[in-house]
Symmetry: C2
Subunit: 728 residues, 2 copies
Amino acid sequence: MTKSHALQTNMDVDYVVNYRFAKTVRGTAISKFEKLVEALASVGLQTEVRNGGKHSVLLFARVASEEHLHGEVYRSRVQDWIHGVRAGAPPKETREALDAEPLYEAERLRIIYQLITNPVTEGGAGITPKEGEWENVESIFALHDHEYNKDWMKKWSTTTFLQTEDLDDIRNRFGEKIAFYFAFTQSYFTFLCFPAAFGFVSWLLLGHFSPIYGIVNAIWCTVFTEWWRHQETDLAVRWGVRGVSTIETKRKDFEHEKQLTDPVTGETVLIFPATKRLQRQLLQIPFALGAAVMLGALIATCFGIEVFISEVYNGPFKSALVFLPTGIATTCMPILTGVLTNFATQLTAYENYETHGAYETALTRKILVLNFITSYLPIFLTAFVYVPFGTVIVPYLDVFSLTVRPFAEHEKQLQAPKAGFTINPDRLRKQVFYFTVTAQIVNMGIELVVPYLKREGFSKYKQMQSDRATKQGGAAPSPNVNDPPEDVEFLDRVREEAELGVYDVTSDLREMVLQFGYLSLFSVVWPLTAVSFIINNWFELRADAIKICTQMQRPTPWRADTIGPWLDALSFLTWLGSLTTSAVVYLFSNDGLGPDGHPSSITGWALLLTVLVSEHAFLLLRWAVRVAISKLESPGLQKERRDRYLVRKQYFEENLSALERVPRMAEAGGHITRQSLEEDARTSSLRKTSPETKFWGRQRGWKETVAVGRNLIEKADAAASPERKKEL
Amino acid sequence: MTKSHALQTNMDVDYVVNYRFAKTVRGTAISKFEKLVEALASVGLQTEVRNGGKHSVLLFARVASEEHLHGEVYRSRVQDWIHGVRAGAPPKETREALDAEPLYEAERLRIIYQLITNPVTEGGAGITPKEGEWENVESIFALHDHEYNKDWMKKWSTTTFLQTEDLDDIRNRFGEKIAFYFAFTQSYFTFLCFPAAFGFVSWLLLGHFSPIYGIVNAIWCTVFTEWWRHQETDLAVRWGVRGVSTIETKRKDFEHEKQLTDPVTGETVLIFPATKRLQRQLLQIPFALGAAVMLGALIATCFGIEVFISEVYNGPFKSALVFLPTGIATTCMPILTGVLTNFATQLTAYENYETHGAYETALTRKILVLNFITSYLPIFLTAFVYVPFGTVIVPYLDVFSLTVRPFAEHEKQLQAPKAGFTINPDRLRKQVFYFTVTAQIVNMGIELVVPYLKREGFSKYKQMQSDRATKQGGAAPSPNVNDPPEDVEFLDRVREEAELGVYDVTSDLREMVLQFGYLSLFSVVWPLTAVSFIINNWFELRADAIKICTQMQRPTPWRADTIGPWLDALSFLTWLGSLTTSAVVYLFSNDGLGPDGHPSSITGWALLLTVLVSEHAFLLLRWAVRVAISKLESPGLQKERRDRYLVRKQYFEENLSALERVPRMAEAGGHITRQSLEEDARTSSLRKTSPETKFWGRQRGWKETVAVGRNLIEKADAAASPERKKEL
């Protein structure tokens, strides 16, 4: 993009609606466009239209009246408070509320976006891009703030550790959901310093498969996971979004079975029975098993072929044939994953969730299963099948000789040496190295390049569509020919942004969590893992920032109060790590591969005992860490507690101030007893003589009680021994 | 106790203070008595004194003015609400508040008790029985409501399942803490129906050590524990005590290190650093280990001697000598337990907790460790040491020959048969039977008899003390000689109640939890366990009611929001059960004892694998049960949610009602855009011509946007093919 004045102003535009009509007949296109503009105007948005090129127009929308917008913001905040998302009640005046807590950009954009997309019944314009009657609305996006983006990238490229204020800044610009991703990655990056340092020392001094490294690493993983759990709540409170998932708007596709009146709020709620959903959710079990079997079979096959070729096959083209399994994997895996992902999406839709959040969480969980299998199974196979059982299994790999038979010159090249076969002890280390270094670098490259290619591709495709519409009748005129000269630059920029992809924060989070998995599960194999990750993540954080700023449309600022299912994934990986690490350490203890290349003298019960003890030590540790972390003072929770207290206090002062005048028991003491109450007792005893009245009428006032008591004590004492009397 | 009118009235007495002066000189006794009466009067209590006999006087106290008491009640409720214990704010008028939610007896008694015992700085009279300057105050107790007690026992003796209303009734009379005990025992009793029925069927059809029974039992234990966790919260909300532990008064013995101002409430709080306490808490680890070693050694020794005598020893007096280890255990065990309990108490005091609740929880946890060891270790030894390793260990039991050498006639009687020794496979079953049937019956007997004996003993002791004070000079005059005739019966009754013990709900709870442990850990050995327990518990519940009503002073009604550490104990036992049950089932599978009496063909790895799989299945199950139960609608939590919502709503309506007048964005749409805003835009464009103003000034109103858009679409379409034009 060129540096110019066009980058410095967004012309006060709040949102741009990209309206495409290449595949629509003229009349429909015009009437739909009219409807769109009217809908936007109906929620108080001012509009301007410009040519978008390639059979599209760009519709610019901005808030017609700031005052009216402030009303919406205030209403949204009050709603948050009523539903318990905000602890402190907003001030009573709109103006005051906005002064006390200024409107931030993400909030503004979110509220406007909701105005545009919410159903008409909920006060929105009901515009749903690419769906139903709004099929022609290709996208609704805000414009990048290039000034800010430039500063942001400049600042980040010179700092190593981000402060909470930096995260606040992201939250204010891009919303809480994206801010949570950066907060998580930043915490992870900071925490990585320790295992990177320790891993380096351990690599120098302890070597591979060190139990000490394993224990320290497990402790680190636990502390990090639990700390993030704490930190997340804290940030959610800081950003005023704790519990925000409960007030999400309904999914349009949600099908209810009955309507009920919420006993709490009195609102009508649509119900889909939980038991019915549970039944549908149970389908996840066969899905997970099926996916595991299919992906597992594919991976195991490739693995088997690879082992066969590299360690059994002895004929020509060996160096080329070694890439055969990689070839199979890279062609079949995406297809299979695609099919399974598609199936997972359908299954999730069938589970019929009420909110987008619940839907996404459920989908993410399913895809996580696929990711776990494809990411970790290859190493699992090496560590727990190839190494311990290699000598037993490899001879059976003859079945794979089919794959290379055409190249073999004679049978012998296809037969495993009956006894002399040795396991390659370096395979595990190489594999871990591949996944923790090579794959990370490749991934980052892809992440930056693919969106660019995609964009170019789409741009070409749209050009083609447009060309087809204009037939072969010469090239379409450049879209900016009719632009007013002072707007040309700006409009060119908007047209460019309209072509960009939509940023998906989930995939970035997935990447981080899967990376954490390698550390927790297998870093004992190669202690430098964390060093590789810390370098990678420094770039990753910045690359993601660049991606958001230049490769993607400005993301719609959604709210979130957690990184969601990823937190469970972290817990799961940490726990699984306690099993794999101990098992790997036991299997390879003192680099203890036997003379035939497979571990010598391993016994089943000792392996199981190691795993059992390690797991329970881990569970105990996690409990202790949780307790310790829960004792930490959390500024966020403290703020929440204070806010809640203040609301009650205020309510109390305003409404219950009569409390000061409520009598105290102590006031009934002293005087009252001696004077009025005695009088009461006397007069009442004249009226009636119930046993109770008589009983309480005998001693009037506490002084009389003392006198009677003294008498009783003296009498009892008088009956005592004369010796005792003398003592007195 | 005799049935009479005296049982029907409590003479409006709220509390009785038992003041004893047998060991105090007359002058001090009198001055201290005066101080006591004055202190009670100072908090608004009316007093009457009567002779108590045995060198004591009974001081009766009642609230001088109900209106003033209502003030205290209201204040206490408002305080609860401010601290978040109650979700709904109390009404603004005292009278209204008490009408909406009437004062219940336990609340009344609690508030009066707190008035008497709270420190003077907190508005109480500062009377602490048996401590410091109030050493002569032997007890402060309320009088039993005999009418109610009679009805209660009558009702319970004819019903099997208690309703929530029955529990509410107990809560209203005896306070939440005791009500929680009954609620728990009742839930447990109800839940026991299933394992009792299934256990019976399983005993008939499946026999002992059935894996099916083991699995069903583990599921049941898990469901019960999780359900109770849910139920507990629900009850806490129902009774308005959720979170009550946070507003407990400080322990008198708590030593603070610094004072801070609470950032939330602005109150001054006394701080003892958590890290320092943690250091002290770490002493629990050596304590637990030490206790385990000592108790374990004692139990193992007795166990060894018993095995030696019953299975090796062959000489005379065998039938009598068998009781030797029981003798050793019954003499040494209480001494050792006493010493350890004492140590635990000191350790807990050293840990310096802020509140009574925290102190008691910590103490209970420590004593729980002791209880677990003494209750379960004997069976553990049989199942996991004697049975699998018996043939290895028994020959070494010769060391115990010392204990019976005097009785032996010749050496041979003391020697284990070298090869012919067989393990007694019935030992485990007999032991489980002993702990689950015999011991339960014995315990219940003791529970009812011991307080009676204790009372008699104490009564004798006090008589002796009193006698010593009056020397040998003839029997003291009966305390009731000077009573007014109409009060004699009542006062005799009060004197009797003054002699009774203080009810401790913790020990009853412990009994139930330990019983649950046998079910969870070992019932697979003898599936009728639950049948025994269900019968026992029907009586237990009633016996406890009788105990509270007749054997103990009326308990002071404390509040609680949970059964506290016992819930953790249940979780722990359920988890441990998943290990022991699977291990026992594996060891004894298909009643699989080999010909030599010890299990044949057990292998270490298979045992470990069984345990590992079983444990993980359990953890998965628990997670699933938790999720399922969390989905259950909880009336209590719903009420809480509603109350909170209503408070916010009310605040909202009273203070934020201006919201209706806050402008909506939609109002800024339509008309405004077309008229005023266009006008604005036009006028402003006259004044200044920034690029933004120009940009937004081109199309005035949405209709103009539509017109321009139509033009653009038509133009783009015009460039399209003539064929397409024809279509239109």
